[in-house]
Subunit: 294 residues, 4 copies
């Protein structure tokens, strides 16, 4: 972070912001699936009304339909204000399904048919987003890369390509990063988020470019599931952490996701630079072993 | 858990137990990659000696080689005793690479080339395992399913197929479960594990079968990265939790992973049964909202 | 197929029908990415006009934007009439990008940035569809299952769960089927399609259910990239095959995709039933070896 | 290819060569799975004998075991000489399973439990290989890149990173290439291979490096399932094609896979260079439309 500060800071933006829930309905056959889809398409307003009755902060924004055999998967996308919104989305989805059930005869098997997909590493979240999709970037001048990171843009780019891009591809990984989950886990625990949702954060994509000897680095986090109201954000320690970040309460959830993205950016920069310089094992030896955990 | 107890308990077994680290080396060309592989194959003992010099608890068990272009990825598998073993594996891998570098002229670009793969959702870990590969199972008699879970084996099996198996497949998920990461996150935080490694736990596969009206349920966890010595296990609260479980210190890491697997089994059973009975939204409404977090 | 006919036939439906091309643009930074997205959102009509100038049959239906670092990925979805439409989509995407380049200063690095994704096994196609998304189903009465397939619905369902659903999940597969690619390859070669697009067809999801002893079977094919005009459909043999199917020329592409889906359904049924009955090895021994290929 | 020839040719190597079949067995419970695994480990010679009785060319090289719940997946790896070997592997696997069934009481549900995995895009094949794992490379001097490809190493590397590495990652693709399946499909049809196995070839990884202004390009093909005896290689046209390549009959299968890898290398080079130069749409417009297919 000191390197990013020395370089003039980071830029970050939120590109999508929807909590999802994806019930699975049982239908009699393909014809019934088609009829159910047609009814949903024609009655979206009615479904949205049913959702409205369950929540004052949430709003149903989109319904995707994935038919297969005797199952129909619906993926509901909700705006959930400054709440992470999972419970809100679950309750609202159940209400929506009850309306659909009555009108169409389709039966909800589970309010979550796993196309949501919560706390599982799922391509659908990496591609379509879940929670907030956030991108952060920084441009580190060549002299700072050398003086503070003891590396070069060229070496860091090579490490990123060989490790994060090619190594991840060969390992069959969703996302491509050095250790985004480390920062996400610490951040989620400290700020009262759901630590199981580290999974969504672990699908981060990290990229580096050599721009005339300077280092451009960015992270794309497709599934940042955070809130600044509700859940663990009410706990005393966690609320304090949010307040320190200026992220407690209403109107702050996107800001929180942006701070997380920059935190991940800083962690990626640090590790890539250290690995580029062959120092990772050495750092672990010095700091991690034979010392008390404090 | 009370249901599993009423059913006579669970059986669980550890099938693999290796911590992995996968450096990436830079080679000049394909011929150099071949020569490096040949040298490694011919000098495995020498490499193991170099590892031995860095650790009294660890042992290098296997070296996989993945050549591509001017990169050569090595995946080292270590026995790490009762430590989770990441630091041990990192330091040992670096030592191993130094020997290989000197002998072959290949140069280590990064001690982690992401085929390890740590804290990223990676197919290689799901398939080959990382840390402990654990399976747990229970058979719940029909009358207990009905009396305690208010469901039937048939309904739970249907929920598992439609949600965990088909829904996960359509979502492009690694693993197939309801919410394994929830139990893993809580367990890891409570017992001093690395909460970012929830990612490995999230690739759990849950299966259910209707056996003459009784419910057979199992979980396969391919990447349980836990230890009972070192790291966060030294913290007072966490050590106490380990002691309560009878899992503090040496000789206990596999037992700990088995208790985790059964915990996940219980959580999966609970959620599948609740969803089968259409109760998930209702439970969230009653318990999760408008109540103080304690 | 004879079994499906005896059971009264199959039902099939097309759910989506868009050919995609996904250029990648180089942007200066995140701010530039945002500006480019805003311009695209505000000038969709202008972009559609540019597309119109390149094709009389195609129509730009949707533009998805995936920003990351100094890259901006656009995924264009086109209606392409009865052509498979890849060339049309490529030319149209290039024209669209030229308009965007001039207005925004973003520069097209490649007309295909691999989020299309053509002839690669990609989750984005499995989830969002590419070409036609087709579902087919059949219900085979218990007596026909027994008399003609020498199996039971129960055994075939078990085979499907263990092999297609669980086995595929454990193997890290996109899709879940027995051998859809076999039927797709034969069908594509016979009808003048692009045989490299077998890859899209290989992501088929096959499901089976035991409905009161009868066998319900369905396939969901998310990425059927076929046409009845243009390309290899003009070749004499291939045109004849299309004519035999009643699928030559305009207005026939969706019908062709439905016939393919039923063909895949039949192939899945045949193999699942044979494997359920333990006959696969035996069939290969009798038919495949020591005989002339004709 | 002319560019590669002008650059002094390509180097290529085969790194693994095993055909796989992965039956799934039904076991009573976890204990039974363990007993079955123990029996297999203790009786590998007996299982190999059973295999030997079914084939004169094949040899069982490895048995991997993946236990889960009441299923046990075995992945058999066979040396199959110059045959592609799928039928051989299927028949041999069935024989192996019969021995295991009798001794352990485990029952084969399907000779293919989809961890093989044949003709499906599966991470297990990308990681562990299926058929031949082949790598090919070439180094194209800067002047040839400029004169013949009208591009620079720098531009081609950028295209490869943005398109093949990052774009594929964001699309959730297995492998990372421009259009390997095109070359594989043409090659397989021409030489009598199974065109449905294009799927395995589509998981190719393409990498490019700028080496002092020269272009280094490589492809890694983890799953090349080809043969030079048996199957479609007996057809007159296909045999002639094999003869032209010097690859007909015994002792030639690895050479054939190497020629394929170089063919894919050439196709990747051509398309990356063309896209780098923004010429793809233009080439399609000139060559592909309004012309007769010949």
């Amino acid at each position: 972070m000191s390197v990013i500060n020395a370089a003039g800071g980071s830029r970050t933006r939120v590109f999508g912001d929807y909590m999802t829930r994806a019930p699975v309905l049982r239908v009699r056959d393909l014809e019934h699936a088609c009829q159910t889809i047609q009814w949903i398409d024609a009655h979206e307003d009615e479904i949205k009304e049913a959702v409205k009755a369950t929540t004052s902060h949430g709003r149903l924004a989109k319904i995707e339909k994935f038919p297969m055999g005797r199952g129909l998967y619906l993926r509901f996308s909700f705006e959930t204000g400054d709440a992470m919104g999972m419970n809100m989305a679950t309750i609202a989805s159940e209400a929506a399904c009850r309306v659909i059930e009555v009108a169409t005869g389709a039966e909800m098997v589970s309010v979550s048919g796993n196309m949501c997909s919560d706390k599982k590493p799922a391509a659908i979240n990496m591609i379509e987003g879940r929670g907030k999709t956030v991108v952060a970037e920084a441009l580190i001048p060549a002299d700072i890369v050398e003086a503070k990171l003891h590396a070069t843009a060229e070496a860091i780019v090579e490490t990123n390509v060989r490790k994060n891009l090619i190594g991840s591809s060969m390992a069959g990984t969703l996302g491509a990063n050095a250790h985004a989950a480390n920062m996400v886990a610490a951040f989620y625990i400290a700020t009262g988020q759901d630590p199981a949702q580290v999974v969504g954060g672990s699908m981060t994509l990290t990229d580096c470019e050599n721009v005339d000897g300077n280092l451009y680095i960015s992270v794309r986090m497709p599934a940042v599931e955070v809130g600044t109201v509700g859940g663990g954000t009410k706990l005393p320690c966690q609320r304090e952490a949010l307040e320190i970040l200026g992220c407690s309460g209403n109107g702050k959830a996107r800001k929180l996701s942006e701070i997380l993205a920059v935190t991940v950016l800083a962690g990626e920069l640090s590790t890539l630079a250290a690995q580029a310089a062959g120092q990772l094992g050495k750092a672990h030896a010095e700091l991690g072993r034979g010392k008390k955990c404090q």
